[in-house]
């Protein structure tokens, strides 16, 4: 169980930071970055054998985390901010997945709320939201 929780947070952080970094590196459309990363992870978990819990949850957690990485630099520009948002996203996923399992848009919803939480607790007020 602890390993499952740990994997949630690892996937959240890796997904968010990877998408944020790749988005800045590629300078292409954010949808392409997020979709490409999610597609690769989903493909690995579709064709390879993993324990059921990981097969079901890891691609979803990763895809949701890439939404955090899609945040515009004008809104949230620091890695620390993205990291914090990913942690909050992980907490929300663990706490809410039983309630919202199967709802389309749930991952995007909690990703958006976690970014808003970070924006609210930031000291500086340069966001253009």
């Amino acid at each position: 169980m602890i390993l499952n929780y740990l994997s949630v947070f690892v996937c959240s952080i890796v997904g968010a930071l990877a998408c944020f970094k790749l988005k800045n590196y590629l300078r292409k459309d954010v949808v392409l970055t997020s979709a490409l990363l999610s597609f690769l992870v989903a493909l690995v978990f579709y064709f390879m054998e993993f324990p059921t819990w990981y097969e079901e949850h890891v691609p979803r957690i990763f895809m949701g985390a890439t939404f955090i990485g899609m945040v515009s630099e004008k809104v949230l520009s620091t890695y620390l901010g993205v990291f914090t948002a990913a942690l909050i996203y992980g907490v929300m996923y663990v706490a809410m997945i039983d309630v919202y399992d199967g709802f389309g848009g749930f991952l995007g919803g909690i990703a958006c709320v976690s970014i808003l939480s970070v924006l609210a607790i930031r000291k500086t007020d340069d966001s253009k939201v």
């Binding site: 515009s72 929300m92 848009g105 919803g109 709320v113 976690s114 939480s117």
Partner: protein, 185 residues
């Protein structure tokens, strides 16, 4: 007849209600007390503070063209088919639809219209990620994607650049369809 300006304000409040409703239901329905406390302190309070003090209503009112609605509906149907009929799973289905659509950016480099529509594809794909336990058939999917499409059209200048915006919108559409069909049954 509601004026357009009032309609856009209502959509902005709908977006706020969606986020706060999502968190509140999570707090009240969850079994884990530690998780409830964490969501309350880490998420509900800051998000409410954000909406009370930081969120600025957009200084201009704008909407996507109605084509966005059709794209949302088409993307949701394709994703739902890949997800539940071909059993690819929600992540692979949504990401493959979005990836297929975003590959076209290399052919339409200077098209502003394309950039608008790629977001509509991703938004629709999120609706199609729903499982058959929540969205039971294509009629319910159609209602969910139409509601999503209308919210998508009206929230062009709301929360721009915040990741997960289109997911929130899709969640609103799916939740609305789920609520409507639960009332009917």
């Amino acid at each position: 007849m509601i004026k357009l300006r009032t309609a856009y304000r209502l959509l902005f409040f709908l977006l706020i209600a969606l986020h706060l409703g999502l968190i509140l239901v999570g707090i009240f329905q969850g079994d884990n007390y530690m998780a409830k406390l964490l969501i309350f302190t880490l998420v509900l309070l800051p998000t409410t503070v954000f909406y009370l003090y930081r969120a600025k209503a957009p200084n201009r009112l704008g909407y996507e063209k109605v084509t966005g609605l059709w794209i949302v509906i088409a993307a949701s149907i394709i994703t739902y088919y890949l997800n539940n009929d071909l059993l690819l799973g929600p992540t692979l289905a949504a990401s493959s639809v979005a990836l297929f659509a975003s590959v076209f950016q290399f052919f339409f480099k200077n098209s502003k219209r394309y950039k608008i529509y790629i977001n509509a594809v991703y938004c629709g794909a999120f609706v199609g990620m729903s499982s058959t336990m929540i969205v039971h058939n294509y009629v319910e999917l159609l209602i969910a994607s139409v509601v999503t499409g209308f919210i998508y059209i009206g929230t062009k200048y709301h929360l721009t650049g915040v990741g997960g915006k289109y997911g929130s919108i899709a969640f609103g559409g799916v939740a609305a369809a789920f609520f409507i069909f639960n009332l009917i049954r």
